[in-house]
Subunit: 205 residues, 4 copies
DNA sequence: GTATAACCGAGACGGTACGTCAGGTCTTGAT
DNA sequence: ATCAAGACCTGACGTACCGTCTCGGTTATAC
């Protein structure tokens, strides 16, 4: 029954002020410019109050992203290629946003050090996306699209899909994303999956 | 003839001491622990001396990586798939090293802000690797392996190859690299290239 | 009512530690050896904490002297000569201290540059001493010792009294102060004042 | 016969360039702004070359003043008061110059630490001025103006004369020097000397 | 209603790093 | 041996963040 804690509860207004201030800073300057001092000043509060809610700037940054992109839907389109394309479209949209472009590298570095942020990220971002792919593959197997599921490394499929998007965002030369980028890379991942179970790729679309 | 410039020359010993100190720190703690103070302390020199050589810790970190992984060879194996596999093998080896695992995210974030580091990185890391792929594709086109070169986006091909490696390194859940990872991803990139020019993929290897 | 200001108050212990450290350094090495780094190290605190209290080393040095010599009493002995002698005795005692010998020149140089230190010095050291002399002259005028006050330049009288003491301290050849130095120079200043209003000097004492 | 040193001799041009650069800097910013770096840059030479000529900035500063004010003439006006007035006029002129106002305090502080500068200053500035006063007193004694010379402390007389000038320069509130300042203070010193040998002061001028 | 527990603003605090400046010395090549 | 150039070590500068703390004052529940 989630018992009420004694004492004065957190002011929700301050929390949202901080989240908004962080989002603005992340949109503008990006991760390197996120300092607790600046955030609390802009949110009109103080360091101590900040640290009651978050363990540090990286934690808050993560929460901003989680609020924006935390929930992934799972759509059953009826075919593996269709499902993978859906997943890829959602990820391209998420990762190509200014918020991600400016902060992904910084957060990935923060994860290396900070266990808490790493766990949160894994749980809220990585796991759901991996699950979407696993479900798509399972459904394909049930439909008989794939001979044998065990031959497919879900993790590898995921990296094959999200990797090119990340590369395009993080590497300086990376251009934009044209309308068919998601389709092309999803097809390639699809071929990869088929090849893994020994099925020759059908006619290219 | 590289004329001698006037004045006392840089002490090469100090330079190598700094590079070595940086490499140790990068191997151990990774990018976040790279501070100018710590480096000069360990190298037995001073901040001012450091700043005569490097613009900051990120610049030095880049130089360490450039010294280790700067030069890429170009091997002509006689087939596009063979060439791409060579490229991929080299990149897997480079990126899976502890040095890269611990520092790639930090450097990518540094690049967002620091123009100089971004240019150096682009010039010394990105451009040569892109060039390797371009040469492989050009040779394949000459051999008639590919119908029309213009249909192939070199940049996209590069992202399709390096992306999965990066994802595996930077994302917390990323496992290791088994012996055939390079082969599999190179094959997938190869299929992607063929599909781009409308050629059906041959029998999977 | 001296309302309490918000926030954590300054630690008085740190303040006194700094003042004591400064006094020791001023006594030992003198002004040139006063560095913020050394002071905070000896007081066991940090630069930032120092700068919350003082604008710089010269400010702190001034505060040390102000605490020691800040307040001057005003004694009415009944005669101008007596009053001037009292003032002179106090100034000889103050300026002949090791603290002043070692730091006066440095502080005078600091004053040239730093407006704040100049103002503090003027207000807390110069003004009160000038006032003592002015009061003595006013009382003498009321008693009829001096014909007309306006004829006396208080500033000049002050310089005539404090000047010789300063010269003796700052100039390298300056010897010590014998017991009658204050009396002799006060008499001379007295004669100067009388001469300024056209009164012949009486018998030398 | 002042044997010629082996090797290349000092460039006199550099020496004068340095002296001139120093004078400009002393006139403008004053002692605190005298840095070896700035001086050699402005003189178009280098630190090493500077240190072959001078032991430090304070040494050079002293040389500038010595070149300007080093030699004092000795005039015999026929009376003690006349001679003292001459001395005082010269000192007022010297000390009231911008060059002295901006650098005296700094040099006095430098003297406290640097033995060499102290010796140079004593020898070239203090000793000659003391000697002028001593000669004036000796002549007065020969003329019978003073009963007995031994009763007069030359050092004290010097401090009584130069002290007020110094006070007026160094103390922040010190005003300017009107035309009769030298006369008035010389008279006062004269009275002091007479009093010291027990002679009543004559009618004020 | 009145404890009590936790919040909140303000800002000091020790720690660590930043990038710069000045001092005085040393190394290189040239005169 | 001087000179220009500039690296080098030492040590100090004033500032920025970090995460914690100490104040005085303010809510919300819980007794």
């Amino acid at each position: 029954m989630a018992k009420r804690q004694p004492g004065r509860p957190f002011s929700t207004e301050i929390t949202t002020d901080l989240l908004e201030a962080a989002e603005r800073a992340m949109e503008r300057g990006g991760y390197s410019n996120l300092t607790v001092d600046t955030l609390v000043r802009e949110a009109g509060t103080t360091r101590a109050t900040f640290y009651r809610r978050f363990t540090g700037a990286s934690h808050l940054a993560f929460e901003v992203l989680a609020a924006k992109f935390g929930d992934v839907g799972d759509t059953d389109t009826g075919s593996l290629l269709g499902d993978l394309t859906e997943v890829q479209r959602a990820d391209v949209q998420m990762l190509s946003s200014q918020l991600m472009r400016n902060n992904l590298a910084g957060l990935l570095e923060a994860m290396r050090t900070d266990d808490q942020v790493r766990e949160l990220f894994t749980e809220r971002f990585l796991a759901p996306r991996r699950e979407s792919i696993r479900l798509a593959v399972d459904r394909a197997a049930e439909r008989g699209e794939l001979g044998a599921v065990p031959g497919i490394d879900i993790e590898e499929l995921r990296d094959l899909m999200i990797g090119p998007i990340i590369a395009r965002i993080l590497l300086p030369t990376g251009g934009g994303f044209d309308a068919e980028f998601a389709e092309r890379t999803a097809e390639t991942a699809h071929r990869h999956a088929l090849a893994a179970v020994g099925i020759a790729t059908p006619e290219p679309a």
